[in-house]
Structure formats: C-alpha cells, structure tokens
C-alpha cells in the first residue's frame, strides 16, 4: 500500500475521471446501448411534435399519416397517452390549474410546447413521421411584456374565475392581490431612510433571458422490467427525479432506478422537471420496450427551461460623499409559460441578497413573478442572484457618476468589513467570513487601476476611436447548501476505499475532489479511492448538484463518513496491535495505524481490511454512511472582478481586453478544478454582456433557435483570465468550505457591463441595457451625438 502523502486538500491533482472523456469512452445518454444494459437493446426513439405558436387553442391533432409512416410504433397525443394528469408537480408545489399537461390539450402556451410524440424504430423514422402529424391551432394573443402580464388584462390561466395561486414570501402581506398572471410575490420592507441622504439615482434595468445550453442537450432512456422502472437520465438530480417519477407513476421509490451516466453539462438546465422527461417512461410502459429521447439543439433552445428574465426599477439613495443608505427595488420576474423553479427565485434567492456586499440600513423590495407565453423559466448558473447583483452593481456606478466619485471609492466606503463577519444583513442573510475590501483592493492592484484611469483620460482627451472602459463587480452570493447530503465510505478487502454520494457531477470534478477529501481522512491515496455517484440504487438519498451546494454538503458528508470508518478501523487496529483503542491513531501521511507515540510498530489498511473482511474474525464492518446536515448554514462565496474593455465608437463594438477576478471560495480542495469552475462562470457572464440573449419576436416566436443566433461564448471572446485565489475559511462548516460553481457570473456580468458604460460615459451615456451588442452601444452613442 503506497503512502498517501496527505494532505491532498489544496493540491491540483489531475482529474481521475478524465481518461474516459479524453478517449471518447465516456457514455452519455445518446451513446447507451446493449453493452450498458441488455434491456436497452432495440430501444425505440421518441420525437416530439411541438407548438409553432406562442399562445393558441389546440383545435385538433391528426396523426393518421404519422401512424402509417414507416417504422412508427405509436403516436401519442393528450387523448391517448393514458397517463393521469399528475398533480401540480414535477417537484414544484403550485396550484393544479397551473400544471403543464404532459401533452398540450386545450391550449399551447409557448413555442416548443409538446403536443404529440411519435415513437419509431429509428430516430430518422420518428423525425420523418413527426412531420406528418397535423396540428390545427387557433392563435390567441400572446402575453409577452412583463408589465402587461402584471396588469393581467389577458389572464393566461382562467378556471372560470380568477387567479389562483400566490406564493408569498416576505414580512408584509401584499396590500392587494395582483393580477391572475402573478404566481408568486416576495416583499421586504426593513429599516428607514436616512435623513442625511441627499442623492437618489433611479434606473430601469433588464436582465435578458439566457439558456443554460449545455453542449449535450437533454435526454432520457427508459424501460420497465418486472414492475420496476429503469431510467437513464441526463440529470443533475437523480434522486429528486426518482421522487417525482414515484409520485407520477404511483410506485414505491425502491421500484424506480435512476442512473445518471456521463452528463454533458447542466448549469441548471438538467434538473429533470420537464414534461418530456416525465412522459417518456409511460411510452416505454405502453409499448413494452425501451424508449429513448434526446433533444435536438433547436428543440432544446425552444423548449428546455431558460434562465434570467428580470426587470428592475431600481432606486439607490445615499449622501453626496458616497455613503449608500437605501435601496428600493420594484422587480418583475418572467416565469414563462408555467410556474417552475422561477416561483422560488425572488423570495428564496434574490430577497436575501438585497444588500449585496454593502452595509445598508434601508431596503424596500418588491417582486412579482409573472407568467408569459415564452418557455418556462428554470434555473441557470446564478439564478435569482446574478441579475439582482448585476443591477445593484450597475446602480453603484450610476450613483458614483452622479456624485462625481470614483466607483472604486464608493464601493470601499460601503463594503461590509472583515471585522463585522459573520454579518447578518437587514435582509436577513448571514454572511460568513470574508474580506471584501481586501479582495477589491487586490483586484484593483492587479489591474493597475490608477494607470488604467490615466490611459482612459488620455484616450478621452484624444477623442480616440477606441475608448477604454474599466468596470468593477463586487459580489457575494447565497448558495443553496440547504438540507444536506449523505455519503458512504467502504473499505475493500484490498485496503482501498469506495465512496458513494447522492450528488452527481456534470463536469464538476466530484470524483477527484471527493477522493482528495476522503484521502486526507483515511490516509489512502486518492487513486485508490473510487467514487460511485449518479445511481439511486447505490445510496438512499441525494439532492443533487444545484445551487453551488455539492462541496459544502456532500464534501462534508464524505469527510464525516470517512472519519466514521477510521473510528471503526481503529478498533480493528487495536486488536492487531494489542493496544487500547483510545491509544490508536491513524497517520494519514503513511496510511498506517499505530499506538500514539510509537509509530515504528504499525499496521496498514490492508491488514485492518483483511481482518475486517474475514468472516470469522470480523470485528467491525468497514463501511459507514453518514448524513451531513447543513442546518441552514449556507455559505456566501465572494470576490471582486475588474474588467477592462475597448469600445470602438464608430461601430459600437466592445472588446474585453482584460478580466481580473479575485475570488474567495473558501478552502479549495483542488485549486485547478476551482479555477476551471470560475473560468466557466466568468465566460457565461461575459457572454451575457456581449450578446448572448434568448430573443422572441412580438408574436412570441423564438428567434434564437440555434448556436448561430444564440451566441454562447466562443474562444475568441475571452482574454486570458487573471485569477487570484483569496482563501478565507468559512465558519459555517468545520472544513472551511464555501462554494464556487456559480461565482463567475456574479462579478463578471456587472464588471464587464460597467466597463462598457464607463468607456462611453464621458459622451453622456448613463446606462445601456444588456446585452451590450455593438448595435445597442452605437445607438446609445447616436442618441448623444
């Protein structure tokens, strides 16, 4: 047994999961076949027929030609899929009226809504037959504008009477019930305006829709065997999906087996709450064979949940010296066609972040989440937080400009300071340890901020075609540690370890990270620790990889279970060493147990495991499961981003030339993996500022239905990121972990956005809405010329 050489926490080990990815051997949904499970042999293919209208009555659906097309097994519509409409579910407790039918019945409410599904022997046959399904729709006026929806003149859901559902979060009840298109409200009114406040700035700010757009779209394969349902799903939540399916198909969870194979990215887009994913197993049951479904890219962009979609009317008030005292926000959140995860975001994630990183005494916050005839809003990297924090950081710059102060100075003046931590804001969130001011100052120092300002002044006075802009985004954000996670650690007869978790990775590097955490406790080398995840049969419970939560829940559970196994192993080692258990210690550097003070005489894991696995002698089972309960102690990763852009004032084209990001993600287990998470988040945020936007036309048709028109970040848009790790251990858990998955966009969006406006601020521009496309920047410039 090689010595572990611990500690591995803090070490950038190459990822042990990567061999399969690098060689093309990793198995994603579309790759699965009989070699993965013989029962997948001959899986049929499902292809959905989707609405081409944003809002319409379904008059009739004719499937005769499709049924007679070559290879077709069956065509399903609302009339014949034979599944009782589930409750208002898919894991979101909303009123039954709002529940999306599995296949549209009376109305369609977004372009891309499933109306029928064709199952055929081959994918091409299903595609061809789907074109033969004739859908007769009678158009209705779509509701697309958020304020129109809020006014509710066209109620989208009418059950003979009115509005039905309110999911109210906050300290004040709504004075009067808003319209029937409001599915949730969140309000917070705390503190009082400062009498010294003299300067108010107000701005309407929109945050456009984005698609999570993992490069692998959604997909599912399902079959039934002896009353058990087997589902292979590209999912972030195997156990959560299993619970939904159990409710849906009225089965005990033990009869449902969900496996997440290799999953090609999630970002909130694979939380398995869609009607497509609930319905496929029913088709497999009806046909008595395995059925597979994988989105095309255009289907994904039209019908998978999207993120963002906020409208803020923001007022920020302070004094003339740069002291911010008051925030007032009226916000409308677009929910899309059916209330999903979006109903929670304002109350659960936006409202607690009302103060951002600032010490503010007065908050007036009000949000209505409204329905529209666009694809349903779900989660996307930074959901509920990124849009608000970006708007707040924009307001800080607008305020600084108004009082003629440097935006860096205004931030310094208002940041919550390290000596105040942990700090509970008036919005009720308790931030853990961090030094926001030091991180901001470091980012500015790396950027060489003062010289950048001099360079900017020179370009301004020279009226140069390429103007320079510098922007800052300081952030902290609530992560969703809520609840906890379970982990199992088992020692094999060879003295190696197997770790099982309920969370599952979609590229996060859990396999390597968990091995490093376990190794530091067990003293077993990481390469001798294998990880099992993404399989509901392997472990009883799990929440999944959402909300930057895996490390601060499952990571702690792995640590805890590893410790429990060591405690058992010490009992065995005590027998072998003929010493008292209380005197036995594990040297994690060597992986040897010995009596405290006498390391020369020791036993290793192999000896301990051999004894434990000998049925006659077994003293202890070297297998422990532990649940780590986060108990509401969410962590708040933080940092500051500085962006430098050049704007071509002739064309409006903005180019990001530098991006400095100082991030406090708490204790970093694998710094390389952490940096990779930051890079990806920065990229998503930068792309949102530069042009990534889901666009619908005035009839509710999706205009961005492929990667040509929906421009996720490409390799030419990003400079070499300048990262700096700021490590402050959190007191919210014993390992000092925070989180990192969603940090990137939090700082990057406002930093790049502020930099672009800063580049043209001297030309009279106060604000440009996202995304800052060349045309939008040019239009802002034209308006001032």
């Amino acid at each position: 047994m090689p010595a572990a050489g611990s500690p591995f926490t803090g070490t950038s080990l190459a990822r042990s999961e990567d061999f399969a990815f690098l060689t093309g051997q990793a198995r994603y949904i579309a790759d699965l076949g009989a070699t993965d499970d013989p029962r997948l042999a001959g899986a049929a293919y499902a292809v959905f027929v989707r609405s081409t209208m944003a809002h319409a009555r379904v008059k009739d659906v004719t499937t005769t030609d499709a049924e007679n097309a070559p290879g077709v097994l069956k065509v399903y519509t609302a009339a014949n899929h034979g599944v009782a409409q589930p409750g208002p579910t898919y894991g979101i407790p909303v009123a039954a009226l709002f529940a999306q039918p599995l296949l549209a019945e009376a109305k369609v409410r977004y372009v891309g809504e499933p109306i029928a599904v064709v199952v055929a022997a081959t994918h091409q046959q299903a595609v061809d037959a789907a074109e033969e399904v004739i859908v007769n729709l009678e158009p209705l006026d779509p509701v697309l504008d958020l304020e129109d929806s809020l006014r509710g003149q066209t109620p989208l859901f009418v059950a003979g009477d009115a509005p039905v559902f309110q999911n109210h979060v906050g300290d004040h009840a709504a004075d009067e019930a808003p319209s029937g298109n409001v599915a949730s409200t969140a309000e917070l009114h705390v503190g009082a305006p400062s009498p010294a406040a003299q300067v108010s700035v107000a701005q309407r700010i929109t945050n456009p829709r984005q698609s999570p757009a993992p490069i692998e779209p959604r997909g599912l394969a399902a079959f039934w065997d002896c009353g058990h349902l087997y589902v292979w799903a590209a999912t972030q939540r195997p156990h959560g999906f299993r619970a939904q399916l159990a409710e849906f198909y009225q089965l005990p969870t033990d009869n449902i087996h969900v496996i997440a194979p290799a999953v090609g990215g999630g970002f909130g887009g694979k939380v398995s709450r869609s009607v497509e994913e609930q319905l496929i197993p029913a088709l497999a049951r009806d046909l008595g064979r395995a059925v597979r479904w994988v989105d095309t890219r255009s289907e994904y962009l039209a019908s998978a949940t999207q993120g963002r979609g906020e409208l803020f009317d923001f007022t920020l008030t302070g004094n003339a010296d740069g002291e911010i005292s008051s925030i007032a926000v009226k916000m409308i959140k677009d929910l899309g066609a059916y209330p999903g995860v979006g109903t929670y975001l304002a109350g659960g994630y936006t409202l607690p972040m009302a103060c951002g990183v600032y010490n503010i005494d007065h908050v007036d916050f009000e949000c209505h989440a409204v329905l529209t005839n666009r694809a349903t809003i779900g989660a996307f990297r930074g959901a509920g937080r990124s849009p608000y924090l970006a708007a707040l950081e924009r307001m800080v710059d607008i305020y600084a400009a108004k009082i003629g102060r440097d935006p860096a100075d205004v931030r310094r003046r208002n940041l919550i300071t390290a000596d105040m931590m942990p700090f509970t804001t008036i919005a009720g969130a308790t931030y853990d340890e961090a030094d926001y001011l030091a991180d901001l100052n470091l980012a500015l120092e790396i950027a060489d901020y003062q010289n950048l300002r001099l360079e900017q002044a020179a370009r301004r006075s020279g009226e140069q075609p390429l103007q320079l802009g510098i922007g800052i985004g300081s952030y902290c954000h609530k992560t969703t540690g809520g609840g906890g996670e379970e982990a199992h650690v088992r020692i094999t007869a060879e003295g190696k370890a197997v770790v099982t978790t309920g969370t599952t990775s979609q590229g996060h590097g859990h396999v390597t990270t968990w091995a490093q955490i376990a190794s530091d406790v067990l003293g077993i080398a990481p390469h001798d620790i294998s990880i099992v995840e993404g399989n509901t049969d392997a472990i009883a419970s799990g929440v999944g990889a959402v909300g930057s939560r895996s490390l601060q829940t499952a990571g702690l559970a792995v640590h805890k279970a590893s410790g429990a196994v060591v405690d058992r192993a010490r009992n065995i080692a005590a027998q072998l060493l003929e010493a008292a258990v209380g005197d036995i210690v594990l040297d994690t550097a060597t992986g040897n147990f010995h009596v405290v003070g006498t390391p020369a005489r020791s036993v290793d894991w192999v000896a301990v495991a051999t004894l434990a696995h000998d049925e006659d002698l077994a003293a202890e089972e070297l297998s422990c499961g532990e649940f780590y309960d986060n108990d509401g102690r969410d962590t708040y990763p933080s940092g500051s981003v500085v962006a430098v852009v050049e704007v071509d004032v002739e064309t409006g084209k903005a180019k990001l030339v530098r991006l400095i990001s100082v991030d406090d993600a708490g204790v970093r287990v694998n710094p390389m993996i952490v940096d990779g998470q930051i890079h990806g988040g920065l990229a998503a945020g930068i792309a949102q500022v530069l042009g990534e936007e889901i666009v619908y036309d005035s009839n509710g048709n999706l205009l961005t239905s492929n990667f040509m028109d929906y421009a996720i970040g490409s390799i030419d848009q990003f400079p070499q990121f300048e990262l700096h790790a700021s490590v402050t251990a959190s007191s919210h858990n014993e390992l000092g972990f925070k989180a990192v998955g969603e940090s990137g966009p939090m700082g990057a969006v406002p930093a790049v956005h502020n930099a672009i406006v800063d580049a043209v601020r001297h030309l009279g521009i106060n604000h440009i809405d996202l995304p800052c496309t060349p045309q939008r920047i040019w239009e802002a410039l034209e308006a001032q010329r």
Binding site: F707, I715, Q775
Partner: protein, 302 residues
C-alpha cells in the same frame, strides 16, 4: 428525410452528364445537409459529388489574370500565394468564413452558386472583376457576377450548368484590395455587414481606379460607384468620409435579429471606408496580413 441517389463523379464529363440528367452537384455539402436537417429544404432527388474533381481545384495563372477552380476551398484561398499577394480581398474574406472545418470543406464555387447576399467572398469577387465560368455537357459561358446573382439565394444559372471556375482579371501595378467585415464574434458568424475595396494608385498616390462592393445590405452583393468621389483624389480623411457616406446611402439593408437597417446602413459605411483605406495601404506596397480584419483590429473581435 428522402434518400437521394448519390454518386461520386470521377470526371468533369461524368458530372456534367449527371447534371444534364437532373442531378444536383454537391461539393462540401454543408449547406445542403444543414438545410435538410433543419427542414428548410429537402435533399435533391439525385446528387453528384464533385469534390474529387482535381481539375476544378486548381488556381492557375492565365494570360489575362487568374483562374480559380470552383472546388478551391476557403482554406486554400486564404493561404495560396497568388490569391494572398494579388487578390488579397478574396483571401481576407476566405479567412473570415466560418471555422477551420467549414473553411476546409466549403468551396468558392459552392459559395458563389448559393447566391447569398451575406457571403463573404462575394464582394471581393465583384471588386476584383471576377466572372463565373458555367459549363454544361454542351457549352461553356462566362457570366458577370452582377448577371449571375438575381436575388437572395437565386442565380441565373440553368439547372444543368456547373460553375467550374471563377476568372479574375490581372492586377495592375500599384493595386491593392481588402475585405472588412463587422463581426459580433469571430467564428461561425454570418456577416452583419461587410465591404470590399480594390484600389489602383497613380504616380503620386492619387487614385486611378477604385471599386467598392458591400455585403449583406441588399438582395445581392451591392456594387457602389465611388469613382466620382475618389478618382484623381488622394485618400485622406475627407475622401474616406465621402466613401462612407456614399456606401451608406447606396445600401438598402433589412432589419433582422442581428441588426436594424439603420445600424447596418451606418456600419457598412464604416466598413467601406476601412476597406478602401486598407486597400490603398496595400496598393502603396504595405504588407498587411490576412485577414485585414484581424491584422488591423478593425471590424472584428480582435
């Protein structure tokens, strides 16, 4: 999806015979396959692959210019010394098309016969005075591009006519050309607007001849007459400003997801000015790397 009959032509004659019998030519096939997969246009009933006809893949000096075979790929155009040195605008454009893979598969002939007003190689071919050589099993003819392109995605070629080459006029001394495109991001982007310019300078640096053509601002590639503005004049701030204004006035762009007509009209003027400026610098003997977009940091992300 319908399954066409498919064959790989081993000779030009075989290809032309197949086309006479109703087959459609396929070179790289990207547009055909993407169009069929997205349901925009079904695959034709009969396809003849012409990508292995080496006689269509040559760049050949001719007495009065250069003959570029229709199967020459964008990857070749952007690096071929004759094109880079003498027909720089065409090399500029080829280097901006799509990604390495689409440049590797996509051909000049395929591009020209698609007839898209947003094609990058179109405006350079126009300012370089190119004609398309169309051949059937019975005859060959030369067609000016202005006569070939009749509307968005439409050409005057008959169904059995195969574009076998583009013929480019010889370049005089002291000439230069350039193509500049406005890009939101670099790869996989169709042109928002673009402009090509060809400039010949007289002794003393005044403009002797000039031509400008615009991408994606009209139903076909749009030729703009700036001779009246520039011939006999020095290229300076004042004349360049007029070029921009003339180009903007000539443009009749549409509004779509990418840009409004107003923005396209303005930026095509900026692109025209930058193209003329870069072409003039090349005419003066300055070496500006391909593509000029990137070399000068104009129009593009970098």
């Amino acid at each position: 999806m319908s399954s066409p009959s498919f064959s790989i032509a081993q000779s030009l004659d075989e290809a032309l015979t197949a086309m006479a019998a109703g087959a459609r030519p396929v070179a790289g096939g990207t547009d055909l396959v993407v169009g069929a997969r997205q349901g925009k246009a079904p695959l034709p009933g009969s396809l003849i692959a012409i990508d292995r006809l080496d006689e269509l893949a040559a760049i050949t000096p001719a007495t009065d210019g250069t003959r570029i075979g229709a199967m020459v790929t964008h990857a070749t155009l952007m690096t071929n010394p004759i094109v880079v040195e003498q027909y720089s605008a065409l090399a500029d454009a080829a280097a901006l098309v799509g990604s390495p893979s689409t440049r590797n598969v996509g051909t000049l002939g395929g591009n020209v016969m698609n007839g898209s007003p947003a094609m990058d190689t179109g405006a350079p071919l126009v300012v370089l005075g190119a004609t398309a050589e169309l051949q059937t099993s019975a005859a060959t003819r030369q067609v000016a591009l202005a006569d070939l392109w009749t509307g968005p995605g439409q050409t005057s070629a008959a169904d059995d006519e195969l574009c076998v080459a583009l013929n480019l006029a010889a370049r005089p001394a002291n000439s230069g050309s350039a193509y500049v495109r406005l890009e939101y991001r670099r790869a996989m982007e169709i042109a928002v607007v673009g402009a090509a310019a060809s400039v010949v300078l007289a002794e003393g640096g005044a403009v002797e001849t000039v031509s400008v053509a615009l991408t994606a601002v009209a139903p076909t590639i749009l030729s703009v007459d700036v001779a009246g503005v520039l011939v006999g004049e020095q290229i300076d701030e004042a004349t360049l400003k007029t070029v921009a204004e003339t180009a903007a006035e000539a443009a009749t762009p549409i509004s779509d997801l990418r840009a409004t007509d107003r923005y396209r009209r303005h930026t095509v003027g900026v692109m025209a000015r930058r193209a003329v400026e870069a072409a003039a610098r090349r005419a003066r003997g300055e070496r500006i790397a391909i593509p000029v977009n990137r070399a000068l940091g104009i129009g593009a992300a970098q």
